[in-house]
Structure formats: C-alpha cells, structure tokens
Amino acid sequence: MDDPNLVEIKDLHFRRGARVVFDGLSLTVPRGKITAIMGPSGSGKTTLLRIIGGQIKPDAGEIRVAGRDVGGLGRAELFELREDIGMLFQSSALFTDLTAFENVAFPLREHTDLPEDSIRDLVLMKLNAVGLRGARDLLPSQLSGGMARRVALARAIALDPQLLMYDEPFTGQDPIAMGVLLSLIKKLNGALNATSLLVSHDIHETASIADKIYIVADGKVVGEGHPDVLHDHPSSRIRQFVAGRPDGPVPFHYPADEFVYDVLGSGR
C-alpha cells in the first residue's frame, strides 16, 4: 500500500471500430494529489476513466488501481474494487426516481449494513459537505444543473473512496457553480485523504487546482507537468492548447479542398 501511485497505466491500446482511441498511452496518478487529464474533445478522456473503472476492456496494456490489475479481475472483484472508486459523471447520472437524500444513501444501503439512523447521519454529513443539506427532499428534476452535480458528488464520496474520478465536472456550469465545484474538489481531496483524477478541457479552471496535468492527443500523452510549466512547453501544439488559440498546429479547418474550388463548384 506504500506505492506512491494509486493508478498506473502502461502502454494502453484501445480502438473503437476502425478509430484508434489510445495508442500506447502511459500515465500515473500519484496518491493524495489532484491529477488532471486534458485534451481536445473526442480524445477519449471519458473512455479512459471507464477503462480505469473496468467498464471497458482495453485491447492491450496494463491498468493498476491500488496495486490491483484491473484487466485481471473477475466480475465480483471488479465490483469490490469499484467501492473504492467514486466517479462524478458528466451528466451527473442521478437516479431520477429517488430524492437527493435517497441518491446519496443508495451506495450506503447497497454496500453496508448500517442501521437507518447511521445512514441518515452519514447522508446528511455528505450533503452538508456539498452545501445541499437543505435540498435533501428534492427530486433530481427539481435541482439546477450545478446542484445536481453537487448531489452526484455527495453520492460519489458516500463510501469515502480512495480514488475520485471527475468526468468533465465544469462543462455547462455557470461561473458560481464552477467556483463552488472547484473549491469542493480541492477541499474534498484533502478532507477525504483521497486521490483525484480529473478529466476536463477547461484549462484555466483545471490549472488552478491540479497538481499535475497530462495532455492527451492522438491516443498518447503529448505533454505532462505542473500547470505552470505547460505554458512554456517546447511543443507549439501544447502551447496552442494551453493558450486556447483557434489555429496553429491543430488546424481550425477540418481537412478539405481549397475553399475556392468548393465555391466555384469545380471540386477536384
């Protein structure tokens, strides 16, 4: 258990149909830190989280979570491992037929034999941590997007997981909700003594809390380091991504014929 890295991925290969998603990707997630994986949309960041959670089997490569080889686990062991992983989905994925309280209580009821009053205390504690103790009786349809994500976060931390995975936590959030989420992610990582793995393309928000950033493109890690280092990275491609410039090594235009041919209707 003294391994400094909670998650280790070595030489991961994965393809979906004819499209190569990962082509020899390797990275490590150090214990107790917030690690971010960034990359353009469609670079397979969400897929990576699912591979770590064992929901998708990679074509080749080794994934170790807390020293266990995810690929080699049976179905029962895999479900056991997942009790140690909390994941916040991009769509929040709250159970729509349950109240906020019951959503957070769900993993507790499923995995523990705690008496009802202990569950109540735990759920209220988790909801209080995300500031939504007062919203416990609301249904997901009555929550705003930001609130739903916070309830989902409270649910993800219900079992005090070692590893917290966030899938695009900032997408579609207003500035206040974004600020709340940022401070929560930072605070919870410390308070739970957990390790966080964040997948995002919101560079400024991510850079403000991450201890280490990996930039993924074309199925590989193309840059890694502390957020400050990436601004002056030798690769122009990474500088383009970090600065958010529309054109550069990653072209603005999808490959096409010269515009003039299309306009004149004499495409080659």
């Binding site: 997942r82 989905f89 994925a93 499923e110 995995h111």
Partner: protein, 260 residues
Amino acid sequence: MIGFLRGVGNRSLDRVAGVGRATLVLTAALWKVPRLSDVPLIVKQIYNVGVLSLVIVVLSAFCIGAVLALQFHTQLGKFGAQDAVGVGLALVLLRELGPVVTALLFAGRAGSAITAEIGLMKTTEQLSSMEMMGVDPLHRIVAPRLWAGFVSLPLLTAIFNVVAIYGGMIVAVEWMGGDQGRFWSGIQAEVDIWDDIGKGVVKSIAFAVVVTWIAVFQGYDTEPTPEGIGLATTRTVVVSSVMVLAIDFLLTLSMYGDFK
C-alpha cells in the same frame, strides 16, 4: 450482387450476435437467486408491469369475450346449438386467445415501458454510474423486472380468461337469452384441467419469459440516443408480438399435436 450477399451476411451476423448478447444478459441477471432483500424491488416491479396493466387487460378481455359470444351465438344458433357457446368460448380462450392476446397487450403496455425505462437509464448514464458504485445493474435493475414479468403475465392471463368468459356469459345469457345453467355446466363438463387450462398456463409462462426477456434486453442494449430509445421500444413491441404468435403456433402444434 456481392454487396447484397455481404449485406445479408452482416445482418445475419448482427442477429446472431444480438441473440448471444441477449442470452448473456438473461443468464447473468438470473444467475443470482433473489435474496429476501430483493423482494421489495420485485414487488414494486410487479406493480409497474402487472397491476398497471390490469385496466387494459380487463377491458380488452371483456370486449373480446363479448364479441366471441356474439359470433358463437349467431353461428351456432343456425344449428340450434346455442348451448355450446359456453364451451366454445372457454376452449378458445383458455387454449389460444387468452395467453396470446394477454401477451400481446403485455408487450404493448408493460414491455415497451420496461424498454423505455431501462433505455433512458442507460442513456442518462444511470446504469453506468450504478456499475461504478459497485452495484450490478443486471441484478438491481434487470433481474427484478424479469422476475416481475414472469410472475405477472401468467396471472394477467388468468384474469383475462375469467373476465372474457364472464363477458361472454353476459352477452350469451343476459342479452341473447341463453340458458345460464347450460352455459356453465357445458364448461364444467368439457374443460379439462390439464389439456385446456394447464397447457394454456404453459403457453403464458413461455410468453412471459419471451416478452420480458426481449423488453429488458432491448432496453439494456439500446443505443444511448433519443432515436435509439424510440427504435428499441418499437423493436420490443414488434419482435415480441411476432415471437408470441410464432411460439404459440409451435406450442399448439406440439401440445395438441394430433390434428388430422
């Protein structure tokens, strides 16, 4: 030509792969025997698929029983055999129409609802998030619906038969002025507990397995988009209706096999 053959081949492979995936879902979901703590989940699903289907089943049963009695009464009346209305009604319903029509109604009312619900849960990542919480959706979501379907459809079929015969009785006796005593005594004398009732129950159990299985699998296998849910729901109704009719033919052939 080659393209056509390739298309046929690909579609056949897709079908075979689909049957394989469906079998995996079914076995994985039913592998674990339900525990005592699963009973509330199953009861809730019996309410959703069984109790909520009652209105449509009872209404249809009454109407079908009534029209059957009308037709029987007119046709049999030509030979002065009105007293056989009860028997005819009971045999047709118990052997064929009861199980089949209830299964078709069940596919439309409960099957489509199951597919849409599971499909939407998949599309909104609820199934994924459940998996990531270490809870297997096959046990938590799929299995209770399967068991509920297995229990509900045979019971609904029994209710259908009772209501339909009663509906027929109202038409034949109260309206057409048939003899109530002969109506019931004919049924009592001619209906066999195994040949007519038992085999009908066998049919309804077979239909229950097929329809619920298809509904659950279509939802679980939905392509997670709005169109995907629509397509899956349609497929549930179409595929299970066709399967019910086909299986009914095979069962009738094998169970009442000595047709000359």
